[in-house]
Every structure is written in structure tokens, then in C-alpha cells.
């Protein structure tokens, strides 16, 4: 594809590439749009349209008259912002947001901290069995969230947990992990266990991409491995850290699997523990898709603001540092 001579061989039949006809030129100009059609169509059909429909639903509601029995007792009417004011003044949704915030404050730092630590350790030259260790840490990510939550749920339940059995035998106190404050730790643990491997791989890949010369220069300057890690490796993988942080925020806001799976095991997790559980309950339990649509829209907006706000802040800092 580098020499014009080779190009002509791929040219349109009988028309050498060097002398294109006007129609061929036009065709060439419209070609990119032509190639964009499938993607745009799919985007419109399966992304923009459903979102638009959800937003439309969120401005409507069902009004029942009288006993609501029989035909014509129900009609869908315009609700304006009613569903939104309802969602914003709903103490359960707010409570769910706060619970998820508390959960996120544990999950995100612990998970990313561990991921960074493991990535740095794997990258250091002294570690043996790297491929095996890497796989072992990554493996939990391959286990579906629901299965992971079930597994951990069994381990948490006092009456069937092997940990409780051992603690009992040793005469030590056995904490109830499915209640109060420990519940947050129990839920966070499932997320950390499942997510650390994925984040570690992202950071580790970035570490492997750092040219060896940089390390060589550092070593010649007399830097210790710890100094290399702190002063060179971490700053150089900062973009991946930002990326993993971004993913983690989104995953935290959308937490659903773990609390939903643990819910039947304990009285401490309500049906509306996290915002998404509230949306699910309203849509499929209570059959109010309009309120659910409004809440879903609000959660999407919050996710957008939080995650992109963070990305922007991170970019600004990077630019400032580059300017210095």
C-alpha cells in the first residue's frame, strides 16, 4: 500500500487510480459515510432509541379511576416532572445512594490499591511463577458476579460458614457479617475479590509498555527498586489508574448483583438497598415503569456527571503537569 504502482493494481476495473473520474471521486468522498451506516444504524436502533423511549416514559404516568376494574379504567397521561420530583424526594432512593456511596468508599480505594500493588509486584524482577500468579489473581474476574455472591454468601452465613466453625472451635467471637457495618465490608469484599484481577491486568499491561531504557537510566542514577516503583512506574501508569478509577466508579454506582443475591440470606438487605435495586423493584415488582424510568434516567445522569467530572479533573491535572 505504499507505492502508487501497487495501488493501481487494486484500482477500479479499467480506471487507473492516478486518473480518477469525477464520479469515482464523489464516490470516494461519500465512502466514509457509507461505511458509517451500519454503526450509526445500530447505535440509533439499540442505543439512542431505547434511551429516548425510557426518557419519554419517564414523563408519563398511568392514571386509574375509581376501583380500577374493567376496561378503560386506566389511561396513560402526561406527568411532566412528577416522576422526577417523586424520585428526588424519595427517601429510599436517597438512602440507597448513600449506602452505595459508603460501599464505594471501601471498594474503590481497596480494589485499586491492591490492583496497583499486585501489578507492581508482578512487574518486579524478583517474582517467580509470574504467569501462574497473574492468572490466579485474574481468575475471580472470570466468575459470574451472581455465582461469586452466592459463594461468599454461603461463607458469610453463620450457621454454614467454615470460618465460623473454626472460630467457634478456637473459642473466638464470631462476627455476623451480614448485619450493620460489617455488611458493607462483606459486600465490598465480593467486589474487591472479583474486580482486583481485571484492574491489575490493565495496570500491569501499562507497566510492561514502559521502555526498558527508562529503568536502565534510573538504575545507573542509583535508584532503588522502591524508588523506581514510586517515582517512575506509578507516574507512568497514571493514565491506566485514571481509567480503572473511571470504570470502578461506574461499576459501584450500578451495584446490583451482590446485594440482590445476598438479600434472601439476611434481613439486613432491603429490596431497595441500592438505587438500581429500587429501579428494578419499581419496574418489575410494583409494575410502575414510569417511576422506574425517571429513576433510571437520574442514575444515568449522576453516573455521567460523576465519571466524566472525574475524567475532566484528571485531564486538567495532567495538562497542568505537562505545562510545568
Amino acid at each position: 500500500m505504499k507505492s502508487p504502482a501497487r495501488r493501481t493494481s487494486y484500482g477500479v476495473k479499467g480506471a487507473p487510480y492516478a486518473h480518477p473520474s469525477p464520479t469515482a471521486l464523489e464516490r470516494a468522498r461519500s465512502a466514509p459515510y457509507f461505511f458509517l451506516i451500519p454503526a450509526s444504524l445500530l447505535f440509533l436502533l439499540f442505543f439512542a432509541l431505547p434511551i429516548g423511549y425510557a426518557v419519554w416514559l419517564s414523563f408519563r404516568k398511568v392514571r386509574v379511576s375509581g376501583l380500577g376494574l374493567g376496561a378503560g379504567a386506566r389511561e396513560e397521561v402526561w406527568a411532566g416532572l412528577e416522576n422526577y420530583t417523586g424520585a428526588l424526594s424519595d427517601s429510599e432512593l436517597l438512602g440507597g445512594a448513600l449506602r452505595v456511596l459508603g460501599y464505594g468508599c471501601i471498594v474503590v480505594p481497596v480494589m485499586l490499591g491492591l490492583a496497583l500493588l499486585f501489578a507492581l509486584m508482578l512487574d518486579s524482577e524478583k517474582v517467580r511463577l509470574t504467569p501462574f500468579t497473574r492468572l490466579a489473581i485474574f481468575l475471580p474476574y472470570a466468575i459470574p458476579g451472581v455465582v461469586a455472591a452466592l459463594l461468599w454468601g454461603f461463607l458469610y452465613l453463620p450457621d454454614v460458614s467454615p470460618f465460623h466453625f473454626v472460630l467457634d472451635r478456637l473459642g473466638l467471637p464470631q462476627p455476623d457479617l451480614l448485619d450493620g457495618g460489617p455488611l458493607y465490608l462483606a459486600l465490598s469484599n465480593i467486589a474487591v475479590w472479583g474486580g482486583t484481577g481485571f484492574n491489575m491486568i490493565v495496570i500491569y499491561t501499562a507497566l510492561r509498555a514502559i521502555p526498558a531504557e527508562v529503568y536502565e537510566a534510573a538504575r545507573l542514577d542509583g535508584a532503588t527498586p522502591l524508588q523506581i516503583a514510586l517515582r517512575i512506574k506509578i507516574p507512568m501508569v497514571a493514565p491506566s489508574l485514571v481509567l480503572t478509577f473511571f470504570f470502578s466508579i461506574i461499576a459501584t454506582l450500578q451495584v446490583f448483583n451482590e446485594p440482590t443475591t445476598l438479600k434472601p440470606l439476611t434481613n439486613s438487605v432491603s429490596t431497595t438497598w441500592s438505587p438500581l435495586m429500587k429501579v428494578y423493584q419499581d419496574a418489575f415488582g410494583n409494575g410502575d415503569i414510569h417511576a422506574a424510568a425517571a429513576q433510571a434516567t437520574l442514575i444515568a445522569l449522576a453516573t455521567l456527571v460523576l465519571s466524566f467530572g472525574f475524567l475532566r479533573a484528571a485531564n486538567r491535572r495532567n495538562k497542568q503537569e505537562a505545562a510545568r
Binding site: V64, S65, G66, G68, G70, P264, N267, S268
Partner: protein, 439 residues
């Protein structure tokens, strides 16, 4: 009483012996006059396991004759199916037939999803207890479904452990509380049972036994009585037991609960007629050690029970062949062979009174081989089921129950406060939707 029982047994035995011939004969004798305008095919949404095999009986028997073919589409159970039916109905594409729990019928009817099939199934009425049939009419002249299975509530207990601890089977709830305390004193690490907040149907059934009427109508307004005196009595009773620690407060259907039943940590269970199936999987090691008795009563000498579970077969308004669908629904829930197959394949306890002692129910369930008269007793208890009163937003009440009572059980706090929350949320939801609500 013994006479009728024997007669039922004989007639059912005859029916079983005649098998498919009897079934084919039935089909031809009753419907000769009617002609269908061509082959009809119906879709049926159900969650009952093995229903496809039961439906095959229809498709190869009476269905073939009348050229009505039914196709089963297996569904998830309970509330999610209600939502699914309503969504499909919105698009005008609901299946012809659906399985629906009794408490979901008002919700479905209020969405105009269920057809009135009174004309087609009037003959079936006599097959069912009045209280059961009444749930499918919603107190109107219309009939919205044919009852399929019922779940009359009973008291299950470990016979051997009751003997060991010197406990007697409680006949009243007062005695039930005494039994719980007595056990706690004798064996502090054991519990008579648990108050579980993760299945609202249990509490609804207990309230029903006490005479609660959660939803009633006056004129064109709904009246919600979730915190009425009867339910308050039930809530106070269980709240008191949980608070003093006489019973456990952990949810049922967890691995821990299975273990508690299997190891004798919990020695009784307030449940319904389907309990043998649950116990078979939850407590396999204690097979043959359990016994069933009627539910304790609120006043001595009374005999009344609630229902927990049970469902019906309904025809949707979207169906293009409502009459054919209703015919199938009636066959499925009243025909002896169909009911036999339902018992065998799906493990249901039939709503049809004649089937309650025949076929699969002639002997006790395998798990209760020590109680030969299990189903005779069950049929007797089923007759004492108190009437129930469901409304158009049972789902909301049920969700609030789980959250409010779950928290109250966990904190061992006031159950009546949780009951008031349930009442308020249910009323608020009705009002929000625009229903007429009487204060």
C-alpha cells in the same frame, strides 16, 4: 364422612383404571354439539414444572378431537410474570392462557388483562370450595380464572423431638407461644420456629386465618385494612415472640435454615400443604420424623386456616379464542386425568375438591410415610380456609412487608409499627395511581 371418602376413593380408582379411554369418552360426550371454525392453537404461560407433559394429554386427547392445540411457554413464577403479562398485554400480545396467583388477579383484572369467562366455566364452579372460587370472581358476577392449586396452611413439627422435650402439639396460638418458651427453657440453643420476613404470603395467610380483610370495596372506593385489628393481633403475637427471643428471627429458604431444619435446631414450621416438597430438599435426613397438624387457632374450639400460595388458570383479553381457552382451562383443573398428571408432574395440590383425595393423594407423601392419613387430614383442613380479600396493589404491600418486617425482625422492634408502614405505603400507592380510596 367416611362413606363419602370411600366413595371418592372408589370413583377415583375407577377413573384411574379407565385412564385414557375415560378421558376420550368425556371429550366426545359433552362437546358434540359445538363446532369449531377450524384448528385453534393457544399459548399458555405457566411456571409449573412438567406442565408440558400435562398439556400433551390434552393435545393428544380432547384437544385433538376439538382441534385445539395448546403450547406451553415456561415462565418465571410470581410477581415477575405479572409484570411480563402486563407488558405483553400493553402491546396486545399477551398469551391466550396464563397461570396467575390468586392475589395477582385483581392487579391483572384492573389492567384489563383478564377476560370474563363466566359463561364457559360456570359448570366447573361446583368442583371447588366456595372460598376458593370467590377469589376468581373478585366478588363480582364475572369469573376471571379457574382455580388450579391451593395452599391451605398447617402446622408441621418434629414428632420425635416434641416427645423428647415433653411438648404437646399446640391447639391455640397461646399454647404455641408457651411451647416456644418451654422449648427455649429446655434447650436454649433450639428454636420452635423462625419468623421469616422474606415471604409475604406466610404473613398474609396468618392474617387471613385471624379474619383480616386487607382490601375491601365500598362503592367505587377501595378500603385498605392491612392494619386492622385481626392483623394487628397477628403482628403483635409474632413481634412479641421475636422480641423475647422465643423464636428465631432469621429468614427461611437459606442454607442456614435448611441446616436448622435438617439438624433439629428448629423443630417446627408453620407452612402449607406443599411443605413435604420443601422439606424433602431442605431436611432430607429427618424424613419420617415430621408430622402435620392443623394450624393453632386464635380461640379454642375454632377451626380455621389461611392459605399460602396457590394459583389459577386465566384467559387473557388479548386471546382470539377465549372460548377454546376457557374450555382448556376448565379441563385442566377439573378433569380427573389432568389433575392426576398435574399432581404427578407438577407436584401441585389441587383446588378441585374431588381430586384432593384421589390418585396421587390417596396415600401420604413419601416424606410423611409415618402419617398415612396426611391428605385426608389436609383435605379436611382445606375446607376450613378463611375467605381472603385481595386488592389491586398486593405487590406493593408485599414488598413493603419484606422491608418493614425484615428490619423489625432484625432489630426485634415493634411489629405493629412495621404494619402501619405497610398500610401507609399501600394506601399511598393506591392514591398515587388514582384509585378511589376510602379512609
Amino acid at each position: 364422612m367416611p362413606y363419602t371418602k370411600r366413595r371418592r376413593l372408589v370413583s377415583s380408582a375407577v377413573a384411574v383404571a379407565l385412564g385414557a379411554t375415560a378421558l376420550a369418552a368425556c371429550g366426545s360426550s359433552s362437546d358434540d354439539g359445538e363446532t369449531q371454525a377450524g384448528p385453534v392453537s393457544l399459548t399458555y404461560w405457566t411456571w409449573a414444572p412438567g406442565m408440558d407433559k400435562v398439556v400433551d394429554l390434552w393435545n393428544e386427547g380432547p384437544g385433538k378431537k376439538e382441534r385445539i392445540t395448546v403450547t406451553v411457554k415456561k415462565q418465571a413464577s410470581g410477581d415477575t410474570l405479572v409484570t411480563k403479562i402486563l407488558t405483553a398485554h400493553k402491546a396486545g400480545k399477551a398469551p391466550d392462557l396464563v397461570q396467575a396467583e390468586y392475589q395477582a388477579l385483581p392487579t391483572l383484572v384492573s389492567n384489563d388483562a383478564l377476560a370474563d369467562i363466566a359463561d364457559s366455566v360456570e359448570d366447573a364452579k361446583g368442583e371447588f370450595a366456595e372460598g376458593v372460587w370467590q377469589q376468581t370472581t373478585l366478588g363480582t358476577d364475572a369469573v376471571y380464572a379457574v382455580p388450579q392449586d391451593i395452599g391451605p396452611m398447617m402446622f408441621y413439627y418434629r414428632e420425635d423431638l416434641f416427645k423428647e422435650y415433653g411438648l404437646s402439639v399446640p391447639a391455640t396460638w397461646e399454647e404455641f407461644a408457651e411451647t416456644a418458651r418451654k422449648l427455649k427453657k429446655a434447650a436454649p440453643d433450639k428454636d420452635l420456629t423462625t419468623f421469616s420476613a422474606n415471604d409475604s404470603g406466610l404473613f398474609a395467610g396468618l392474617a387471613q386465618q385471624a379474619g383480616a380483610r386487607w382490601w375491601t370495596t365500598s362503592g367505587d372506593k377501595w378500603k385498605v385494612g392491612i392494619n386492622d385489628d385481626a392483623t394487628r393481633k397477628v403482628a403483635e403475637f409474632w413481634g412479641g415472640l421475636v422480641e423475647e427471643g422465643a423464636v428465631d428471627n432469621q429468614p427461611m429458604y437459606t442454607p442456614a435454615w435448611n441446616k436448622a431444619l435438617n439438624t433439629g435446631k428448629q423443630i417446627a414450621w408453620v407452612s402449607a400443604v406443599w411443605a413435604p416438597g420443601t422439606l424433602t430438599t431442605a431436611a432430607p435426613d429427618t424424613k419420617g420424623k415430621w408430622a402435620m397438624a392443623p394450624l393453632p387457632q386464635w380461640n379454642e374450639g375454632e377451626s380455621s386456616t389461611g392459605s399460602w400460595g396457590g394459583s389459577s388458570t386465566a384467559v387473557t383479553t388479548d386471546s382470539g379464542h377465549k372460548e377454546a381457552a376457557a374450555k382448556f382451562a376448565a379441563w385442566l383443573n377439573t378433569d380427573a386425568d389432568a389433575l392426576n398428571a398435574l399432581a404427578k408432574e407438577s407436584g401441585i395440590y389441587p383446588a378441585s375438591t374431588s381430586a384432593q383425595l384421589s390418585g396421587a393423594f390417596a396415600g401420604p407423601p413419601e416424606y410423611f410415610s409415618n402419617q398415612p392419613d396426611f391428605y385426608e387430614k389436609a383435605a379436611g383442613i382445606a375446607k376450613t380456609t378463611a375467605p381472603s380479600a385481595w386488592g389491586p396493589n398486593v405487590n406493593v404491600a408485599y414488598t413493603t412487608f419484606k422491608d418493614a418486617f425484615g428490619a423489625a425482625a432484625k432489630n426485634k422492634s415493634d411489629f405493629t409499627a412495621a404494619l402501619d408502614t405497610m398500610q401507609q405505603d399501600t394506601v399511598a400507592d393506591l392514591k398515587k395511581q388514582g384509585f378511589g380510596v376510602a379512609e
